[in-house]
Symmetry: C2
Subunit: 233 residues, 2 copies
DNA sequence: CGTCAGGTTGATTGAGGTCAACCAGCGTGG
DNA sequence: CCACGCTGGTTGACCTCAATCAACCTGACG
């Protein structure tokens, strides 16, 4: 029975968050056969590029990535930060070309669902189809939250960003009150619609309020309640 | 052969934009059997409500709708304005509850794809499955564009909003240089992240520059080129 | 040790929010 | 038919938050 010696869906520790969520053992087995599990990239490398033809859906296994769009003015926008268990690439389905670039923030590993297999997998395993839709819907929800949080003041933006990140890390079994944030101040700003100076000042402010402590890119949340409360006013 | 006397996918004038896009005649026939085509609502009525359990996907047939999310502060955010041929409701798939309310801006008519039929349709007609994914992806793309355009100055926001609307109307065969915008200044502001006063001032500015003319909610685009150029700086 | 990217801090400015007054159109009821 | 109130819209004065510009600091690395 031990057909798969590599780490794959059926022995992956992310099965509760990633595509296999809610699938039977048999279904996960079938899924595993279609998924390539050997994606690896170093920090700064591209998983896919804005404008590239759509060739695959990606499941992030370890590390983190950013989705970056370059607009008509040449300005970079970080649309989202992706964590292990999240599925990237749905943005490319509509126009058959990716709408943004996915770039590794860390050394990352990931699984690949080739576009040409998508239809048959969906057809063969209806529950995978359902999960793909759910992840797609999750992307819509996250983007909508992003739209909303982009309209609030700088301190609330940063509070939402940090607590949101902590929650997502927690859901994946990582430490959530102390984590390494693999983004520069510039990048945090590009994500939240702020300048790097404002990000720096807000982080300082949170530190003097003893809500967090910051050591370069290591963030420690000291008072999660009060940090969350910033958004609620 | 004339099995369907009601307006349905196989005799709908939106087939090139809506779900039937790219389907064969037979496939459209099968799809028609699963879709309820008799949705009707008056201005201000809810198609679905934020928090409601996910029960259906909606295809807007005529009129316009807004997607509204009410945030933790009680503030309304208009996530998008929907036009005929667009598919609403994917936001509810992930959590099995709608993430926002869909509200008629006009007298509208729409088609309904009941959630309980979704999986079997997708399975029976793979090309419908593909189209559903594409529309889902389109939603992601539009949300991402929204995130980006929310970061630019007020005049660029309004320019993007008006030209984007004109383009979408044009693609649906409507007049695109003169249209009725069924939103108050307040609502335009809630969509673009501006106050109603700023919206009013920007509309005025565009009028004095003779880019548009405004009569209450009737917008006439006088100089599309220059209007577009505002975004490009 | 010099260089350079990333980060902090301060001074100044400006776009857009806020507050407030006022106006236009419109349905209602005396 | 007009007075009334009400919603939506416009306009002006003022203020605030975060952008901008600039100087300087820090740690990593060749």
């Amino acid at each position: 029975m031990n057909k798969h010696f590599q780490v794959s869906c059926n022995n992956c520790n992310l099965d509760a968050i990633c595509l296999p969520r809610g699938l039977s053992a048999d279904e996960i087995d079938s899924l595993s056969l279609e998924v390539k599990t050997n994606g690896m990239l170093d920090k700064g490398e591209y998983i896919y590029r804005q404008g590239d033809p759509f060739t695959r859906i990606i499941a992030l296994k370890s590390g983190a990535a950013k989705l970056v769009n370059i607009d008509g003015h040449g300005n970079e926008h970080i649309l989202s930060v992706s964590l292990p268990g999240e599925i990237l690439g749905f943005d490319g389905l509509y126009q058959e070309h990716y709408n943004c670039s996915a770039i590794a923030l860390d050394k990352i590993s990931f699984c690949i669902l080739p576009a040409e297999n998508l239809e048959q997998i969906s057809h063969k395993i209806p529950s995978v189809n359902r999960e793909l839709f759910k992840h797609c819907s999750d992307n819509i929800n996250k983007a909508q939250q992003q739209i909303i949080s982009n309209k609030c003041p700088a301190d609330e933006k940063l509070s939402l960003f940090l607590t949101g990140l902590a929650d997502r890390l927690h859901a994946r079994g990582f430490a959530s009150n102390e984590f390494y944030l693999p983004l520069t101040r510039q990048e945090i700003g590009e994500h939240l619609g702020l300048t790097l100076e404002t990000v720096s000042r807000m982080l300082k402010q949170f530190q003097t309020q003893e809500l967090i402590s910051v050591n370069r890119k290591l963030i420690k949340i000291l008072n999660a309640e009060k940090l969350r409360a910033i958004y609620r006013n």
